[in-house]
């Protein structure tokens, strides 16, 4: 079984997603996290939320969905973290870095296209491939830049905190950064297609494959997962200065991007991309500290004792006889 904290988080998350649609009047809001723990398991779906004072007012006013969405983002971006605010900030920052890298890459491609002979189809195709490669390299470069930024922030937060430890964990930040990178990348690759899929027609009248939409959806999922895994591996590699890992990440990104040029031969592009995703997933799992032992423990549903309580009692000064 999962640790109790995980369960709370999970319940809280599910509850919040559903409670977006429920009238706010049924919800109790509270600052006390102790009460949060009790009420969550009891009053599903009418739940309590660990809200900051500002958002309490918002909820009371009735803009429930708005605050719910913010909370969702927080939970999504830091499921394990206890400092949701910072994680969401970092994930937004990360997404912005990705956007800037895409902007630079498309500027380069745009300028090249307009400087070259637009009638030459081969040249334009070559420029497209080049543009994609430049985009991949720029994305990895910005990932590295973000890593440096995070290191600096980590050091800064460590110096100003009370116990000399930074409140953020770099491993979690790696995961968060990869995830937000993946989300924004996925959103960008799929939103155009989604907008057109809303209409009554499907792709195919000019002879294209009718599996266009579903393949795009699977490809997007693969991209999202890949970016998450790459984020974890990349940050770990930068921490431990294993530059061959970095190189492997960049190469696998380039290979994935190149495989998409094999479309519409979907089998040739999708299958290898999923193989790469699976491999990266396993690598990221082990990089993040996972092991077979952990998986077995998770699957055997053993309930862990509340270590928090034990710590408290351990710290308690024993009564004088």
């Amino acid at each position: 079984m999962w640790p109790r904290e995980r369960k709370e988080d999970f319940c809280l998350q599910i509850c919040l997603i559903f409670s977006c649609a429920l009238p706010r009047a049924d919800c109790h809001v509270s600052h006390d996290s102790h009460q949060t723990a009790n009420s969550t398991t009891k009053n599903f779906p009418c739940c309590t939320c660990d809200l900051e004072p500002r958002q309490t007012t918002a909820a009371a006013d009735g803009s429930a969905c708005h605050s719910c969405m913010i909370l969702n983002l927080r939970i999504l971006s830091a499921s394990a973290a206890r400092v949701p605010c910072l994680s969401s900030l970092f994930s937004l920052c990360r997404a912005f870095f990705w956007l800037v890298s895409l902007l630079l890459a498309s500027l380069i491609w745009f300028i090249l296209v307009h400087l070259s002979d637009q009638g030459n189809a081969r040249l334009q195709y070559g420029l497209l491939v080049f543009g994609a490669a430049v985009s991949v390299l720029l994305q990895e470069a910005f990932r590295f830049a973000y890593f440096k930024l995070l290191k600096k922030a980590d050091e800064g937060l460590a110096t100003i905190s009370e116990d000399g430890r930074s409140p953020i964990s770099l491993k979690q930040m790696a995961y968060v950064s990869g995830l937000s990178f993946g989300i924004i990348s996925g959103v960008f690759s799929v939103i155009n297609i989604l907008a057109d899929s809303i209409g009554p027609g499907i792709v195919g009248i000019h002879g294209d494959s009718p599996y266009y939409f579903i393949t795009s959806a699977f490809l997007t999922m693969a991209v999202v997962l890949l970016h998450t895994f790459w984020g974890v591996i990349f940050f770990d590699a930068c921490e431990k200065r294993r530059y061959w890992c970095l190189g492997l990440v960049v190469i696998s990104h380039l290979v994935t991007s190149g495989l998409t040029f094999l479309n519409p031969w979907y089998v040739a592009s999708l299958v290898p991309i999923y193989i790469i995703t699976f491999c990266m997933g396993i690598w990221a799992f082990f990089t993040a500290g996972g092991s077979f032992h952990n998986i077995l423990k998770c699957l055997s549903c053993k309930q862990e004792d509340d270590s928090r309580v034990m710590m408290y009692s351990a710290l308690q000064v024993p009564f004088e006889d």
Binding site: F10, S106, F110, L179, G182, A195, G201, I205, V224
Partner: protein, 684 residues
Amino acid sequence: GPACGGGCRFCGSSSLKWACVLSSGSCEGNSVERKIYIPLNKTAPCVRLLNATHQIGCQSSISGDTGVIHVVEKEEDLNWVLADGPHPPYMILLDGNLFNRKVMQQLKGTSRVSGLAVSIAKPNPPQGFSPGLKCPNDGFGVYSKDYGPQYAHCNRTVWNPVGSGLSYEDFDFPIFLLEDANETQVIKQCYQDHNVPTDGSGPEYPLCAMQLFSHMHAVTSTVTCMRRNSIQNTFSINPETVCDPLLDYNVWSTLHPINSSEKVDPKKEFIMVATRIDSHSFFWNIAPGAESAVSSFVTHLAAAEALHKASDVHLLQRNIMFTFFQGETFDYIGSSRMVYDMEKDKFPLRLENIHSFVELNQVALRNGSILWMHTDPVSRLNATVEPQVSESSLYNSSVGANVTLQEVGFSQSLPPSSFQRFLRARHIPGVVLTDHQASFQNRYYQSMYDTPENIRMQYPEGLSPEETLEYVTDTAKSLAEVATVVARALYRLAGGANDTSAIQADPKTITQMLYGFLIKMNNSWFQSIIKPDLKGILGDDVPQHYVAVSSPVNTTYLVQYVLANLTGTVVNLTKEECLNPEKTPNAEKEMYDYAWVQGSLDPNSTSRVPYCVRSTVRLSKALSPAFELREWGSTEYSTWTESRWKEIRARIFLVASKELEVSLHFAWCLSSESSLFLTVTPIQ
């Protein structure tokens, strides 16, 4: 008309479509949309028109109607649509020869039809095709239960026996016309590839489908929509008009100039010559009107030119007024408005000034050389005036010309004509000249097939556009004969006593006019006679003569300028003097109209030599008096309005089965919630 001006299409529906700006530098239909849809560009919709009590035309749902395409080329194919087909609703691609009342009644009664696309039949249907009424403009002419009841409602003569009345039916699905044969072929190819049933069972998904957008804003009748307009205008900050009355301008001119700002002396007599200049068909803005409108007003223009060239015109005791009425197809909008203005003293003339009336109606399809003269039998019975004056002048004028004038029987009523509106107000002797004795010779009256082929206009192969403009067809020669007879008769009627053999209509002018009004407006002659800032109205498409709601339409402008060119004089004024005649001495602004036209192109240069034309041509508003009097439910005056709409377009694409759509939704959820699944995986 369109509810918003010009290009209403905005860049896609997604708010993130700006992504395509980065990739392509422009925002018109991204590549995914182009993979899915093939737009049909050369189509004409059927729109909704309303009158005092009914709505006619077609309507689609607000987000377009979609259906699986089925090609119907013979009547048996309809069974698939109406009963057997497993994927209703269907969008029918109908062959033009099957576009008749019988088939349309079957389609109207079923819910398995979501729309119709009609391809033009080439050649024209041999049995004739007319979506107009059998009795055009019934109830708005002169014959009613109080006046000649035996002639009312076409009791004696059915004028348009081929008429099916389709234009005046109300359909609840969209109907489009496919003008381009290539697009029709593309649709048929898509149908062959995907929709053909295999071995009796239904075809497999994906299927070829079509979507038609033609949502109309107005409903029920003119009364309802004008009421809603006034509510919007009164209470809304941003009023949304739902319908517009059909309106335009009549073009009129006089042989001797008159002071248009004053009323004419009641003792002055005028001979009124009238023709209509508009037509209609089932589809919006498709109205070639070759026989029903163009032939008559071109003849009229040629007669006016011939008269103006006569040497002693200024000595004639009666003046002649050449009038071109707009909107006559829709219950006599132009002529009813002119009669109303004359009665209410808003026009320089009054009804008392009209001595006699000559109207030209459909004169191109003469049988042999006979031209028929129609008169009103009821006024013949109450003859206190001299009805024979017009006829005798006409008889005398036809001597020597290849035109035989004959009177129709005394017990036949007047055909539908503008003269009937004048008769409604006052007894005026008059005659209507046509090429048909009883029913119309025109088997394509008010349809899309009333084309130059209908009036036997033929050009030899291999001519350049300039040569085609100059080539004198047989039709032009025949119309020139009619114009000569009319001009000579008018001369006599106006009191001319000299020999009329010098009065001849020019076939060259007629053939140029026929080319310009029926084949291509953008020719060198039309370009040389219009104002410089009106160059844009000369398009390269086939000219259409529908009255429309924004005025003046191209036809009105061109008739005005052609009349000015043919009957006016070139005066030696500069551009400033011509454009501001009130500042020029001796300009007599009230008597004449001055126009600065761009002139013809020098053969060796690229610039034009503009000049000033002085003529007596004027425009008078042709809006039904019902809208002036705000009587939306009037049965006395025309109440036709046209609905407004936002977008009209058509496209074809493939549709998937319901199972594939469900799996698409699943995949969407999968990709967008993959992040959610990640968060519940334990990662330390």
